[in-house]
């Protein structure tokens, strides 16, 4: 049995190592799948509670940062009977290799899931060298 983090459904909070926050809310690490084909890298992140207008994606040098703001305002002043998950923003950074075609990155948010298409550059695609059997 793998000791895989996916077994633990608790939300993981970001740590100070990721930088202190300017907003007073909590921030969680979105659970992310990364799927790679010969054409692209597909990044899928769970950001429940955020829609497309609240998601910021920045690419600075080779660091891709996802920031999704979750508005806790619709949780009016009610009595919380019990709580299994906390409310807060989602924030996470990934280091990209140079083989991503930055101009063609596409992002879609649907049903609380962010899908990022990171196409590989033609150079990266063609760099594969055929190995012949001796």
């Amino acid at each position: 049995m793998d000791k895989d983090t996916s077994l633990d459904t608790r939300k993981q909070e970001t740590t100070l190592a990721e930088g202190e926050r300017t907003r007073a809310s909590r921030a969680y690490l979105p659970r992310t799948d990364i799927y790679e084909t010969s054409e692209e890298i597909l990044l899928t992140a769970d950001i429940p509670g955020a829609d497309e207008s609240r998601v910021d994606i920045t690419l600075e040098k080779n660091i891709l940062t996802i920031n999704a703001r979750v508005d806790a305002g619709w949780f009016e002043n009610r009595r919380l009977t019990y709580q299994e998950y906390g409310l807060g923003d989602f924030q996470r950074s990934f280091a990209l290799s140079g083989e991503i075609d930055r101009e063609k990155i596409e992002a879609v948010v649907r049903n609380g899931v962010l899908t990022l298409h990171l196409p590989k550059t033609p150079a990266a695609k063609s760099r594969k060298v055929a190995v012949k059997a001796g």
Binding site: T9, P48, T81, Y85, N111, G112
Partner: protein
């Protein structure tokens, strides 16, 4: 002395009591805490906790005088794949979330999100009016609004405490 159980079910009941000066109660308390700490670790250690349902949505429950509201984070689902039923004071939440990539064109480099079917029952503090329940799925968050039956507020009666 009442505090005889070694594995305390409700630690706070004992923790909050006074009598700090009694060494036996202090020892008892430390033992209880030790057991509680160990028990708290168990769910993370046991492999079968999530094996049946690889995907267990977490819920928040809040209420006011008029209604109970249950919210669950269910990113990446379709509204039609979510099943909700209410029986008396138990809300059952179920569904199936399937993986997006079934074709074998590429490979996963990292898997953190979970898929699969799930079902869980959520006990409510009161019997709710199932007929008037409403559910909305937006941005991956499911919100179920359960009105408390009319008269539930009237049933609550403040009881005066008389002095001697």
């Amino acid at each position: 002395m009442a505090e005889r159980n070694i594995v305390s079910r409700k630690p706070s009941a004992i923790e909050n009591r006074g009598t700090d000066d009694d060494p036996f109660i202090t020892m008892q308390r430390r033992m209880n805490r030790l057991f509680d700490d160990f028990m708290a670790l168990l769910p993370g250690l046991l492999p079968y906790e999530d094996m049946g349902a690889s995907f267990t949505p977490r819920v928040d429950v809040e209420e006011d005088e008029k209604e109970v509201r249950v919210t669950a984070e269910l990113p990446g689902m379709d509204a039609k794949d979510i099943n909700i039923s209410i029986h008396r004071d138990v809300l059952t939440l179920g569904g199936e979330k399937s993986s997006e990539h079934t074709e074998k064109k590429g490979q996963y480099q990292r898997i953190e999100r979970s898929y699969g079917s799930f079902e869980r029952q959520i006990p409510l503090s009161v019997e709710v009016d199932g007929e008037k329940a409403a559910a909305e799925y937006r941005n991956g968050v499911l919100t179920i609004t359960l009105p408390k039956p009319a008269g539930e507020a009237a049933k609550t009666r403040r009881i005066e405490v008389k002095g001697a």
